[in-house]
């Protein structure tokens, strides 16, 4: 059985990659992907922690897995809205660079 530390480590690594990606990449599409990565890192952590309960008196508990499904649904909803917005922006401005979207600054 894969030890819990490995799972949490992978989750943390994925999350960090997501954060750094969202901060660094200038492409809107890449930022959306990075955000998905963060969500999935959280989902992975949920599933991993759920495995700890197996063998204890909460052996049948599937709370973590349920939450993972919810996280995936949230991610799907978010990507649907996000992609639509990106598409609209691209059509209007002919650019996917996030630095071009600064109309609302002071």
């Amino acid at each position: 059985m894969v030890p819990i530390e490995h799972i949490v480590g992978l989750s943390a690594l994925l999350f960090t990659i997501g954060v750094v990606g969202a901060l660094v990449r200038r492409s809107l599409l890449a930022m959306l992907i990075s955000i998905q990565l963060m969500l999935n890192a959280a989902g992975l952590a949920f599933v991993g922690f759920n495995r700890i309960w197996q063998g204890s008196e909460h052996g049948q508990a599937i709370d973590g897995q349920v939450f993972t499904v919810i996280v995936i649904s949230v991610g799907a909803a978010q990507i649907a809205v996000g992609l639509a917005m990106v598409l609209a922006l691209v059509r209007n401005r002919d650019s996917m660079n996030v630095e071009d979207m600064s109309v609302l600054k002071w």
């Binding site: 969202a22 901060l23 660094v24 630095e99 600064s102």
Partner: protein, 678 residues
């Protein structure tokens, strides 16, 4: 609780009927906006006082039929306020009690109230200033009367306070009845504000009394309980602020009550609302100045007579305030040109005498005086209203005269039931009640008693003078009425004369009620002065020291001579020798002007209170606090500070770089996490 035999379920209907009718009128006028037909208004509005009067009469009969030890009827509707447990519990009931004092006042209020309602049918019929005025007026009349009955019948001080405030509201509504006229609206507001000053006094007194009673372990507001627990309280003192003297607690409470009573009964220095009260329709004046507002003050003092009997300072203040008001108002009444102005100042003066009686500890005399005065003054107001109406609204007595030819019945009734009784014709109620008061003043041991005696005697002279002057100017002498008006003058209908007859009969009846024992013993009448004997058990009258026969004769002589001197002077100056009057009044014109304006009391109040208050309100509170501090500094200043801050520095955070925002967000989340994990 109370014994079954002393329950009287009729009592609650006496005040609640008029109040309920007022509420019905209010709903029809204010909520549904659909006025009733004239006949329905009359039937309901006059029906309620009639039923109240009947209920009061039946309850009174039951009260009289009680055995001696139970001199009280009680009707507990429900527990109004209940708090605490065990020994410290306090409860005030929504309950009514009928003892001798409240029985007399209830009969007075219901009978006068009914007469006023009937009189108002005809009087307000001619009123075309307001299309819904007819029903509105009856609504206010019912409300005022119900409020007064609530005050009179209340079983505890808190319920009485509620009635007390409602009476003030009723006065405000009735005085400002023609509110579209600015002067009337002003007079109404003035009355209300002065009444509020009195309400403040009563509220403070109630709170202090309750605090003191809880201190001696009897937290109660019911009159019976208060009187029982009062003995322990009567001698409590506390140190004056500078520690030089001990002040009686009851004196302080008493002085607060004096303030309250002064405002309601229009005594110096809170009398200023009454001269302006003449702005109201005459039936309203008749109700306010006889049975409601004016009588409420004296009733309060007599209801708490046990307190005043133990409070020498408060009693002295009362006597002096009353005596000064009596004399000053009597002099002012002699200078009035307005017919209703004379009556208003006369009300003040007569109530001043009642206050003097209370101050001297003669509570029964005070109540007798108030009762007699109510009937007399009501008859006078009805007469005055008839005169004013037949002259098409003219109130200046200089444009009246010789009305006896046109209004013979009115003149006869006003003379017998009003003028002569008020003037103190020997044998009338006015004479007897004045006698009682002067006797009480002789018996008392107040500071400056001599001066009080002289002032009371002078009041008798001026009373006879002003009321006979008023009568001569209106009904006798040469006519100064315009020819056109004179052609239309006629005797009023029976609907107007009926209440007048009733009041005159009651005024004559009052003289029988208060027939003094001094005369009764001589003529051989059993149980003379029956009103006083009836009232005596519930009032803490000062012990009536036996006066020498010489003093009694002296008092009677001074009353009679007051009537003679004042009456003769009025006759001489106004009928016999008007030229002399013109010469006299010409030589003291300035003085007369001062007297006519009520010694410039309005001007003094204006200078001393109103204008400084308005100045402070305008300059300090409005321009300083409101516009400067709140609007300027707090609201606009804060907005401007934020604007400046944002303009110069904070706006640069709004860079428009999405990932910059993201960095800040993540940094913030990290900080929170660090704080939580730490």
């Amino acid at each position: 609780m109370v014994d079954e035999a002393f329950r009287e379920p009729l009592l609650r209907w006496i005040p609640l009927l008029p109040l309920a009718v007022a509420l019905l009128h209010g709903i029809s006028l204010g909520v549904l906006r659909r006025p009733w037909a004239r006949g329905a208004v009359i039937a309901v509005s006059c029906g309620a006082p009639l039923l109240s009067l009947l209920a009061a009469g039946i309850s009174f009969a039951h009260l009289v039929a009680l055995p001696d030890e139970g001199n009280l009827l009680l009707d507990v509707v429900y527990t109004w306020i209940g708090a605490g447990l065990g020994d410290a519990s306090f409860s005030a009931d929504f309950a009514f009690q009928l003892d001798a004092l409240s029985a007399v006042m209830t009969l007075l209020v219901t009978s006068v109230g009914l007469a006023v309602h009937v009189y108002a049918i005809d009087y307000m019929d001619h009123d075309e200033r307001d299309d819904r005025g007819f029903q509105r007026f009856f609504c206010h009349l019912n409300l005022t009367m119900g409020a007064m009955l609530l005050l009179v019948l209340a079983d505890n001080l808190l319920l009485m306070l509620a009635g007390w405030q409602l009476v003030g509201l009723g006065a405000y509504l009735l005085i400002g009845f023609w509110y579209r006229d600015a002067t009337h609206a002003y007079a109404g507001s003035k009355a209300f504000i002065v009444h509020r000053v009195g309400d403040f006094g009563l509220l403070v007194a109630v709170l202090m009394l309750f605090w003191a009673l809880s201190d001696v372990g009897a937290p109660t507001m019911a009159f019976r309980g208060m009187e029982a627990a009062f003995g322990e309280l009567a001698t409590r003192t506390f140190a004056a602020p500078d520690g030089s003297a001990e002040i009686l607690l009851v004196d302080v409470i008493g002085l607060c009550l004096v303030l309250a009573a002064c405002a309601k009964s229009a005594q110096l220095p809170l009398h200023i609302w009454l001269p302006d009260e003449t702005a109201s329709p005459t039936p309203a004046s008749a109700l306010i100045q006889t049975a409601t507002s004016a009588a409420a003050g004296v009733y309060l003092l007599c209801r708490l007579s046990f307190l005043f009997a133990a409070a020498p300072l408060a009693s002295t203040t009362l006597a002096w305030v009353g005596c000064c008001t009596a004399l000053f108002a009597a002099v002012a009444a002699a200078g009035q040109r307005d017919l209703k102005g004379v009556l208003a100042y006369s009300t003040m003066s007569q109530l001043g005498l009642a206050f003097l009686a209370v101050g001297c500890g003669a509570y029964t005399a005070a109540i007798f005086h108030v009762v007699a005065h109510a009937f007399v003054k009501c008859a006078l107001f009805f007469g005055a209203g008839t005169v004013i109406q037949s002259l098409q609204g003219e109130r200046d007595m200089r444009r009246m005269g010789a009305l006896r030819k046109r209004l013979p019945k009115t003149r006869f009734l006003v003379l017998t039931g009003g003028v002569l009784v008020l003037a103190g014709l020997p044998g009338s109620a006015g004479f007897f009640s004045y006698d009682e008061i002067l006797l009480a003043a002789y018996r008392s041991s107040l500071p400056g008693r001599e001066a009080l005696d002289w002032m009371a005697t002078a009041t008798a002279v001026f009373t006879a003078f002003y009321i006979l002057r008023c009568y001569f100017l209106v009904f006798e002498g040469d006519s100064h009425v315009e020819r056109e008006v004179r052609a239309h003058m006629h005797e009023p209908s029976n609907l107007v004369l009926g209440p007048l007859y009733a009041m005159v009969l009651l005024a004559v009846f009052a003289s029988l009620l208060g027939f003094p024992e001094f005369w009764g013993d001589r003529i051989g009448i059993e149980d003379s002065n029956s009103l006083a004997n009836f009232l005596a058990p519930v009032l803490s009258n000062a012990p009536a020291g036996k006066l020498s026969e010489r003093t009694e004769w002296a008092v009677i002589a001074s009353g009679a001579s007051g009537f003679m001197v004042g009456g003769l002077a009025a006759w001489w100056l106004y009928l016999r020798n008007p030229k002399l009057r013109a010469r006299v009044s010409g030589s003291v014109a300035t003085l007369l002007g001062l007297v006519r304006s009520g010694y410039g009391a309005d001007e003094i109040y204006d200078r001393a209170l109103v204008r400084p208050l308005l100045g402070v309100s305008d300059r300090v509170l409005h321009r300083g606090a409101e516009q400067g501090l709140i609007d300027g500094l707090a609201v606009n200043g804060l907005a401007r500070a934020i604007w400046l801050l944002a303009q110069n520095s904070l706006r640069h955070f709004q860079s428009g770089m999405t990932q910059g925002y993201l960095v800040v967000t993540i940094g913030g989340v990290l900080c929170i996490l660090l704080y939580l994990v730490r």
